[in-house]
Structures are given as C-alpha cells and as structure tokens.
C-alpha cells in the first residue's frame, strides 16, 4: 500500500474512499467533488510531490450497474513513486467531473479524449472538443459498452454523411472565429452558423447496398 494514502485520509477525511492494491500498484478512490483539491494536494504538498500526470483515462465495466471511473495515473519524478487515483461517476447522475487542466497542461488532450470516447464532461476545461472523432460525429461515445463494435451506422451511411457534411464541419469554432473576424466567411456559411446548423447530421437513410 502506498504510504501517501494515510496522510491523504487525514487531510480529506470522508472524501477519500476505499484503497486497494492490484499487481503491486495502489489505487485510491476519491469523491468527485474534491478531485481537483485532492490532486492539487498530492501535487503540491512537500513529501508527496506527484508532479507528473502520466495518464488520464476512464473505464466502463461490463457490469452495467457499476459506475464509470475516471482514472488518474500519477507519478512523483523526484520520489519515483506512483499512485492511481480514481473517481466514480454513477450512470444515473450527470457524467461530469472537474478538469485538472489548472494543475497539468497534459490533461488538455487526455480529457478531450475521455470526453470524446466516454462522454464524460470536464468542468472548466477551456476547449472541450472531440479529439479523435470529428466534431460533428453523431453516433455517440465509442468506448462506452453500449456502443456496438462496428458502430451504429453502416459504412455506406457513414460515407453518405461524410460527403454531405458542410465545409465548416472540418474546422473548429475557434478557427472559424479567426476567419469570421471580418468578412472572409461566405455569407451563406455565416448564416448557417448563426442558425446553429453546424454539426447537424442529416437523418440516416435506409440503404440497400449494405
């Protein structure tokens, strides 16, 4: 068991849940509301110094009752110690947790990926967009267990949607805003954006060639 668990419990009391060891690696569950405080404490307290965010990901279990977990893999480069912190998010509640971007820039893309793949929202993340899938992707969150392995739409439907997408679908809103500053967006595109039509996917059509 990692020696950091004891002082962590003293400091945060009930917000620190069960801790266990698997394959020699310590896992500690913390409450979703305090995760940023706890990680800040682990990062900045002398003697803990978990200064390196190795990985940030999420897990959904095959047991549908079990909550989703956000996993923070921490490492102290100075002490050469590792700790895995987990947050449970029940499926009945909204899947939100505080972003740890104020602590680590490394969390930027990692949180975007978790949002992209699991639909977990990170509060205060400045740029929470899909990372691997395109922004107008409408099939849901691929790494969720209720997402079928081969996707929801047939290949022909995916091709049809890709061809039907508007040009602005390939740029982020941030980039469009750079171009929008004056008049460089075509009027028709600007109207579509004002109507909020960016990212709308046409209704799937039945196809016979699949």
């Amino acid at each position: 068991m990692n020696p950091s668990i004891e002082p962590l419990r003293r400091e945060f009391g009930d917000s620190v849940g069960r801790a266990s060891v698997s394959c020699g690696q310590t896992i500690v569950y913390v409450h979703r509301d305090r995760v940023r405080d706890i990680l800040r404490w682990l990062k900045e307290t002398p003697g803990e110094d978990y200064d390196f965010l190795v990985d940030l990901t999420a897990v959904e279990y095959r047991d549908a009752e079990r909550p989703l977990e956000v996993v923070y893999q921490l490492r102290s480069l100075t002490r050469n110690a590792e700790l895995r912190v987990k947050v449970e998010l029940g499926k009945a509640e909204p899947l939100t947790v505080d972003s740890v971007m104020p602590l680590w820039q490394a969390a930027n893309w990692l949180e975007r990926e978790v949002y992209d793949m699991f639909g977990i929202r990170f509060q205060d993340h400045p740029d929470l967009r899909r990372l691997l899938m395109w922004e107008t992707y409408a099939e849901g969150y691929p790494l969720r267990k209720d997402f079928p392995l081969r996707g929801r739409f047939s290949r022909s439907e995916q091709v049809r949607q890709a061809l039907a997408a508007n040009p602005e679908a390939h740029y982020s809103m941030e980039e469009l805003s750079i171009a929008e500053t004056q008049y460089s967006l075509p009027a028709e595109m600007r109207e579509r954006l004002e109507r909020g039509q960016r990212g709308q996917i046409p209704e799937p059509v039945e196809s016979s060639d699949d």
Binding site: C23, Q73, L77, A106
Partner: protein, 428 residues
C-alpha cells in the same frame, strides 16, 4: 489602418480563362463592399497544413494562424488514422491484442509487442525465462535504433539536408533484415506472446547483430559530423521550440523530449523492467530543451542502445524461451497433433484464451518515442474490460502549440519534426 483581422486564402484555382491560363484568384477574399485589395499588414492568415503533407509525418493536420511568417496560433487536429484499437482490444484475448500493437507505433513494432506482453504477464503474475528477457531487450533496443533513424532522416529532410536520410535508411535496412529474419515480417512483427516469444532468433542472428553493432557507430559518427557543427543546422535548430524542465513535466512529455529539457527520467533506469538495471548504459540529457538538444539526445541514445545490444548478445543465455505452463503457452504443433493432453490445452487456449485474474495494471516501457504505457483492467475473463494505450506521441504533440507559437512557420516544421510523432500511435 484597419483592425487586425484574418482572411483565409483560397489557393485553389477555380478554372481556366478563355486563353487557357488558370484563373487568377485575388489574394484574400475580396471585400464584399468593393474591390479594395486587402491590407495585408494588418491581417492574419489562416493556413491549413495537412492532413496530406510530407512535413506533418503522417496524417496530422495543423490549422495555423499566421501574422506574416510568424505563427500566432496552432490548432492541431488528429484522428485521421483512428482505428479504434482500444475498443477492438476489449473483444480479443490478450495474445490476440499483440497484432494490434504492431500497428500503433509502426516504426518500432517489436518494442510495442514487448510492452504489451509484459503488461499482460504482470497482470497474470507470470515470470518469464532469462533467455526471453535478454531477447526482449534486444528487440526493444533494435526498435529504438530504427525509430530514431527514421526520426533522424526525416527531420534532416524537413530542415533541408537530404544526405543523412539516405545514410540512416541504409542502416535501418540492416536492422529490418535482422527483424525480418527473426519474425518473418518487416512491419507486423507480432514478436511476443504472453509468457514468451513467437520465435527464437534464427541461426546466424547473433553474428549479424554483432557485425551491425561493430559497424553502426561509425555511420553515426559520419552523419553526426555532417550536422553537429554544421552552421546551417545549428542556425535552424538552436533556440527553436524550447521547453523548460518545468514545462516539459507539466505537459506530460516523455522520452527524448523530456530528457532534452534536462529531466533525467528514463523508465529503463527509474522503473527497470527486463533487468535493465543490470546493463551498463548512460541516459543522455539536454540542457535547453530545443530542437538541437533533442537531436543530441537521440544521437547519444542510439550509441547507448548499441552498448546495451553488445552486452545483451554477450550474455544471451541458453535455456528455454517460453515459460513452462501449458495453460499460457501453446504446445508444440507436433504435440498438439499427437498427444491428447496437449491437444486439449491447445483447444482451450485457442477457444477460451488465457483468463487473467480480477485486477488492473499499468505497465510502461521506454520506447523510442517516449514512455509507452499499457493499462489493463480485467474482470477475470480472458478478454480485458479496458485496454488503454498511453501513447507518448499524443502527449508530446499536444505541446506543439506551446512550442511553435511565436516562431516562424518554417521553424514550426522543424519543431514538429523534432517531436518524432507517429500517427498510428496518436490516433490508435
């Protein structure tokens, strides 16, 4: 003087005129109110680079906001090579995941195979044999060398030096021949199995490897002489894209990127696996964290890899290659065909896979790009609940905006090259 604003240049030609010349498209989108030429001094340009662009090393797409030639903002877009490997892994036995790892960092597939097998072994509590350990070290170090050689050649081309590319790829070819002789494949090696290896090294492999180790440093010295004190190279790389140690840690950089910034963290030294602590090698670190220091660090790493390879070949023990456990390792084909018990084990392994106990493991190795981590969560079945790859290139390239903003556009290409990305791993 108007307010700074951005126009997007349409560089395509919309057709030809009556004389057959391409229609001239005015620079910048014309003002709807009149025919005024845009005031370029006050304007920022939005430029799209990639996903099909030779300097983005794959299908990376960068949308760049430029003020003249100076990069104001970079927005990288990834995902063009996304294949859902992590999702696929949840539907496969642990051994069946190994071919997927070939295709992540496809410039160093053998190291990925080793990392995955070791993560699964740690999860299942399997101790591999001594011979297997040494062979895996050889696989990892050969992978590091070919990965760095690709980086070296392509970076030199990006910055404008063509010759080093030819010299390094000639050496890379020798490693590929070794790899091909060992695994039968140049790219999709699938070298390891949980509990052992797919194959032992072929006859004559050790001699070839010794010959490579003896000759390769002289080639390194030659290409190094071309660039290390080359005024153009130094001018293009020193002070470009610097990251301080603090920033590098904050951005989660790893591998040569982290070490070039002066952080002496190497998974092989600090969290040793495969008995790396018993090998004698040095971990080079940089001072400034710029493109030049990354170059120096990677050059030295290749020399250190040769040292490790020489020690590994010298100590390569005889003995069994795979663990002696019929539940984990497939019996020999002849036994499976003639012996009842072996056939049952064969059948059970192929049909049911090897179950892992309930639990989870994060295991990382130092591969050419940085810290490659595998995270397995098991619920006791033969297929993982979750398989996560911690891709070093993903975190390294996420710091590109931080490194490139404020530099010239041409320097952004040099910075991007110095990250040593491989899109198969970033997009997975």
């Amino acid at each position: 003087m108007t307010e700074p604003r951005t126009v997007e240049l349409d560089l395509a030609t919309s057709g030809v005129d009556a004389a057959g010349h391409p229609t001239r498209i005015p620079l910048g989108v014309t003002d709807p109110s009149g025919s005024r030429e845009p005031d370029l001094d006050a304007e920022h340009m939005l430029l799209n680079v990639g996903p099909q662009h030779p300097a983005t090393h794959g299908v990376l797409r960068l949308v760049v906001e430029l003020d003249g030639e100076v990069v104001k903002r970079v927005v990288p877009h990834i995902g063009y090579l996304h294949s859902g490997f992590e999702k696929l892994g949840e539907y496969r036995h642990y051994n069946q995941i190994i071919p997927l790892t070939d295709r992540t960092d496809y410039l160093a597939p053998m190291a990925n195979n080793v990392g995955l097998a070791m993560a699964a072994e740690q999860l299942m509590g399997i101790e591999i044999t001594e011979r297997c350990k040494v062979l895996r070290v050889i696989a990892c170090e050969l992978s590091r060398i070919i990965s760095h050689l690709v980086w070296f050649g392509t970076t030199a081309i990006d910055i404008g030096a063509f010759t080093p590319f030819l010299w390094t790829f000639q050496e890379r070819e020798k490693v590929y021949n070794l790899q091909e002789a060992w695994t039968g494949a140049r790219l999709t090696t699938s070298l390891t199995r949980v509990g052992g290896m797919m194959a032992d090294i072929p006859e004559g492999f050790e001699g070839e490897l010794r010959a490579f180790c003896a000759f390769f440093p002289s080639v390194l010295d030659e290409v190094d002489r071309l660039l290390m004190r080359n005024a153009i190279w130094i001018g293009r790389t020193q002070g470009i894209g610097p990251m301080t140690a603090e920033e590098a840690i904050n951005y989660g950089l790893s591998g040569p990127m982290l070490r070039a910034s002066g952080v002496a963290y190497d998974v092989r030294k600090d969290r040793p696996y495969l008995d790396y602590e018993t090998y004698d090698f040095d971990v080079p670190i940089g001072e400034h964290g710029d493109v030049y220091d990354r170059y120096l660090v990677r050059m030295e790493e290749m020399r250190q890899s040769v040292r490790i390879l020489e020690q590994a070949v010298a100590r390569l023990p005889d003995g069994p290659l795979n663990v002696d456990d019929p539940r984990v390792i497939l019996p020999p084909k002849t036994a499976a065909m003639s012996d009842m018990e072996a056939m049952i084990f064969h059948f059970k392994q192929v049909m049911e896979g090897v179950p892992a106990p309930v639990g989870e493991v994060y295991f990382s190795i130092e591969n050419g790009k940085g810290e490659l981590g595998y995270y397995f969560v098991s619920d006791g079945t033969a297929k993982p609940v979750r398989w996560r790859i911690r891709p070093p290139s993903l975190l390294n390239v996420a710091a590109l905006p931080k490194m490139a903003e404020g530099h010239l556009f041409a320097d952004m290409i040099a910075i991007n090259a110095s990250i040593d990305i491989v899109m198969g791993e970033i997009d997975r």
